[in-house]
């Protein structure tokens, strides 16, 4: 090159102008190109056009160059930074679609994991955590006390200073019922104080909500406000629903308003169809629930300047505990946060749901490890590609970023698919928990979406970490070394971790399965097999005295005694386990007293259920109102009332008045729960004394299925012209099974997810061993070349996986022990640390782990040694 003459440098008097410098440079380039094209034979004008075309966008290139040279590089690099992200993203999409099988596997695993977690979260949120859909729910407080009478409520409402409003709702539910009418889906009504909707700040959608003026004990209180759901279901959202009449317990109520959509009152997982004033309770129920207490729950909205603490102390000062002696309990008053209303689930189901939340979280964790495994194996296969990228100048951060972007992309796709899974899983959950008929809305809202997004992001980062590290190391190794195979520690560590987590899961499942088996095999004191329970009711609902069809049922039972194929038939007022019962005071005059359940039964009951008589006699056909009052005691009731005495022939008092003679004692039976000790039971003849129970259950022992028995019973009803009908039927065994619903849920969910965990580790170990076989091709080739038999190669490979599984199992033991301790409260008949479950889980995992690696090991053993060596 020639030096530019000095004078030309001063052409630009004001110094160099970078912009025109760039322009000059480009112009020179285009000129040179044009010259070349002309020399090649193109006409000058065409040559110039072609040169400009080849150069491309002068503006864009100039802009970029100018940004670089004028030191505004940050701007350019920022633009480049985002462009880089975009490029990485498109690259990630390309990479993921290239390795379809592993991407789809990963997405499926994530979809199931995220979906299950989202479904459980949705249920938890709907039933426990979500704030009530009313304005400023944080101002709401729940007030509880052992007993609130209506007067006590009024006293609190009018004297307190901390609340802007204090409302009450009755826990009694009135059903829609009208004489001589059968209703599809009868409405349920809840009685609430007149200011209920004021306190919740929820005005009616149409018409009006209840007001304090409705809260009177007269016909003026016979007004009702309908929920949006009921309005839609019954009236198809017709505006003329206002003014219509609904009969609750035969009392007419006028609908005066409809509530806005989404409002469900105060209790999660419920949605009363109608709200009626508290004052109407007296007409709805014969007794006077208003003055009796215990039937009301209170809540209020505190004044904006008030706090939970001041509200509590204020109410406690104002509160005067009932001073009458017959009101037991300290009657202290408690105030708690009411922003999310009353929980929609409690007790056993709540702990089952919490347990399920823990299980699905663990499953997602295992899934994460599994996906990480997949990605690491794939990442190792991409070692070369990464080495190229590094050598082409991609920085470490770029490589890690690329890997993380791929992981996050997978996680997002998995999250979206998880939302679909969540909808289905949520429905399954409601079925499993028998909440299908409850108005629990599972449609995702922003809370659920935020949860799913958060979980997806977290999982993406979690399972993206290992492959990213692997990428970095692989890249370094590939660049610097020639023959060394990068150690594959991260893959192995992941498998160990996965096995450890799975051990916890499988051991938990084993505990629940064993616990359930224990429950099923616990004797209940009677033989439920082959007993069908038939629920009977009057054929027409025109009996106003609520008397159960006991006489009719006994006639029916008698007519069945000689039926072919039926062993025996008996009638009682309730079936064991699911009909519920109320405790009655039972006293030995001058002796101890206790609270016992009363079962009213006929003469064949003990025989039909195979309950052995210990002493005395059972009932006979003559035990009715015209004969002396008698009772049969359960064993433990007999022991408590008559310690060291023979109770037969003695007199006891049942309830407040009935003096009855004990004629016999039968063995104890479990009545409400398999878990607990048998309760104290007293049996009375079905036809003796006032019968408060509205139910009649026919028990039939036979070899036939309940539906066949029901068919025979229906035939017999027709033949005998009895005014009864079969309401429903079931096997007595299923009744016991139904009482174990929560245990069954825990057993089933933990087994299903335990099985999923096993499936995941099978896939994980299979993938790892297949990958390991490929990595060790050369070693295997040498071994075979020097005389190793295929069997030895298989053993070599299996040794590797067995070692990993063993380490995993050992590392998982402390976790499994901790989990066993945590769930011991939900478990029946097992020690807090159940060695059998742990051993079973360890064996299952070991077998699964080794079985999963047999295939890859076998394939490794069939490598052709020559080929294997040539591969290197």
């Amino acid at each position: 090159m020639k030096q530019e003459p000095a004078w030309r440098r001063y052409l630009r008097f004001w110094g160099s102008d970078p912009k025109s410098d760039i322009e000059d440079e480009f112009e020179f380039h285009i000129q040179a190109k044009t010259d070349e094209l002309i020399a090649g034979g193109l006409p000058p004008e065409e040559a110039r056009r072609e040169a400009v075309r080849q150069f491309g966008s002068v503006r864009a290139i100039r802009k970029e160059c100018h940004a670089i040279s004028s030191g505004r590089e940050e701007e350019a690099s920022r633009a480049e930074y985002f462009a880089g992200w975009l490029r990485d993203l498109t690259y990630a999409v390309r990479m993921l679609s290239k390795t379809k099988a592993s991407s789809i596997t990963a997405i499926l695993i994530l979809a199931v994991g995220i979906g299950a977690n989202t479904a459980v979260f949705t249920c938890l949120d709907r039933l426990l955590y979500r704030p009530l859909p009313v304005p400023q729910p944080s101002q709401l407080l729940l007030v509880s006390s052992p007993n609130f009478t209506y007067d006590a409520y009024l006293h609190l409402r009018d004297r307190n200073q901390a609340f802007s409003g204090l409302a009450a709702q009755s826990i009694l539910v009135a059903y829609e019922r009208r004489r001589r009418e059968r209703l599809e889906q009868p409405a349920q009504a809840r009685a609430v104080s007149g200011n209920f909707f004021d306190v919740l700040q929820t005005p009616a959608l149409i018409g009006r909500a209840l007001a304090l003026s409705d809260d009177v004990q007269s016909d003026a209180s016979h007004v009702a406000v309908a929920s949006h759901r009921f309005w839609s279901r019954r009236f198809n959202q017709a505006p003329d629903a206002l003014g219509r009449t609904v009969y609750l317990n035969n009392v007419p109520f006028t609908i005066v308003g409809v509530l806005p959509k989404g409002f469900f009152g105060l209790s999660k997982g419920s949605d009363p169809d109608l709200y009626v004033p508290l004052g109407a309770l007296t007409d709805l129920f014969d007794s006077k629930p208003l003055s009796q207490g215990k039937f009301m729950s209170l809540f209020g909205r505190m004044k904006p300047d008030s706090s939970l603490k001041t509200a509590r102390s204020n109410l406690q000062t104002v509160w005067e505990p009932p001073s009458r002696g017959d009101q037991p309990g300290s009657a202290s008053i408690e105030v708690e946060d009411g922003s999310s209303g009353y929980a929609g689930t409690s007790g056993q189901k709540r702990s089952s749901l919490m347990l399920l939340a823990a299980i699905v979280a663990l499953l997602l964790l295992i899934g994460c490890v599994n996906v990480a495994c997949l990605l690491v194996a794939r990442g190792a296969a991409r070692q070369q590609e990464i080495a190229i990228r590094i050598s082409l100048g991609a920085g470490k951060t770029r490589i890690v970023r690329q890997s993380l972007i791929e992981s996050l992309l997978l996680a997002s796709v998995g999250g979206v698919a998880g939302m679909v899974v969540a909808l289905g899983a949520g429905r399954l959950l409601l079925i499993a928990f028998q909440w299908k008929s409850r108005p629990i809305d599972l449609s995702p809202d922003w809370r659920v979406l935020a949860f799913a997004a958060g979980v997806s992001l977290a999982t993406g980062l979690l399972f993206g970490l290992a492959p990213a590290m692997q990428c970095l190391r692989d890249g370094r190794v590939a660049l610097n070394q020639e023959r060394t195979v990068a150690p594959f520690t991260s893959g192995k560590a992941l498998v160990v971790m996965e096995v450890a987590l799975s051990l916890v899961m499988v051991a938990g499942a084993a505990v629940f399965i064993r616990s359930f088996q224990n429950l099923r095999s616990t004797p209940v004191g009677f033989i439920a097999e082959r007993v069908s329970v038939i629920r009977l009711a009057f054929a027409e609902d025109d009996h106003t005295d609520l008397r159960p069809p006991a006489r009719e049922a006994m006639r029916l039972a008698e007519s069945l005694w000689d039926s072919r194929g039926l062993e025996s038939a008996a009638v009682a007022d309730k079936a064991t386990f699911n009909d519920g019962a109320v405790g009655y005071p039972v006293t030995r005059p001058g002796g101890p007293s206790l609270s016992a359940f009363i079962i009213r039964a006929d003469q064949k009951y003990f025989e039909t259920l195979r309950m052995p008589l210990i002493s005395g006699r059972g009932f006979n056909g003559r035990d009715d109102d015209s004969s002396p009052k008698v009772a049969v005691l359960g064993e433990s009731a007999a022991h408590k009332l008559f310690p060291n005495m023979n109770p037969v022939g003695k007199t006891i008092r049942v309830g407040l008045r009935d003096e009855v003679e004990v004629i016999g004692v039968v063995k104890d039976i479990k009545f409400m729960s398999v878990r607990t000790q048998p309760p104290e039971l007293v049996y009375r003849p079905l036809l003796q004394g006032a019968n408060h129970s509205p139910m009649v259950r026919l028990h039939v022992r036979s070899r036939m299925s309940p539906s066949n028995v029901a068919a025979i019973v229906r035939d017999r009803i027709r033949e005998e012209h009895l005014p009864v009908s079969v309401e429903s039927f079931s096997a007595l065994e299923d009744e016991i099974g139904a009482s174990l619903l929560d245990d069954r849920i825990r057993m089933q969910t933990s087994s299903v997810f335990g099985a999923l965990a096993l499936l995941l580790i099978t896939a994980g170990i299979y993938g790892l061993m297949a990958h390991s076989a490929v990595r060790r091709t050369r070693e295997i080739g040498i071994r075979m070349a020097v005389g190793s038999s295929p069997a030895q190669i298989v053993r070599l490979m299996l040794n590797e996986s067995a070692r990993l599984v063993l380490i995993g199992v050992i590392l998982g033991v402390p976790g499994a022990l901790a989990v066993m301790k945590a769930i011991s409260g939900l478990v029946f008949g097992l020690p807090p640390i159940d060695g059998v479950s742990l051993a079973v889980a360890a064996v299952i995992l070991s077998i699964t782990g080794i079985a999963a690696s047999v295939g890859p090991a076998w394939r490794a053993a069939r490598f052709d040694p020559v080929n294997a060596l040539r591969l290197e």
Partner: protein, 110 residues
């Protein structure tokens, strides 16, 4: 021969530019021509990639620029290697060679 992917050219472009400048100062057009000619037309450098790369390398002080006159007396901007650039070239060359050898070995086996 197929035109190599843009990705590859961009990644190795710095190396290629440094290499062409080891024999003396050149202007942008000449750099592109040398790369094209000495690879038998296999590597085509696009202007949209060349000039930003030159400016970036200038900013990193691997090369420095000076205005001069071309063979046909046109005003042209010439680039030359700095000491830093020379060092950089040696490193890049080594890395590239070991990498290329690795790729070649891989391709040879499979």
């Amino acid at each position: 021969m197929e035109k190599p992917s843009l990705d590859l050219v961009r990644g190795t472009l710095d190396l290629l530019i440094l290499k062409t400048l080891t024999s003396g100062p050149l202007h942008g057009y000449a750099i592109a021509s040398v790369i094209k000619d000495s690879t038998g037309g296999a590597l085509l450098v696009e202007e949209g990639a060349l000039y930003p790369a030159l400016y970036r390398m200038e900013a990193k002080e691997w090369i420095e620029a000076e205005w001069g006159l071309s063979s046909n007396n046109r005003r042209a901007k010439y680039y030359r290697l700095t000491a830093k650039g020379r060092q950089r070239f040696r490193n890049e060359e080594k890395t590239w060679n070991s990498y290329a050898a690795a790729v070649a070995r891989l391709l040879a086996t499979s």
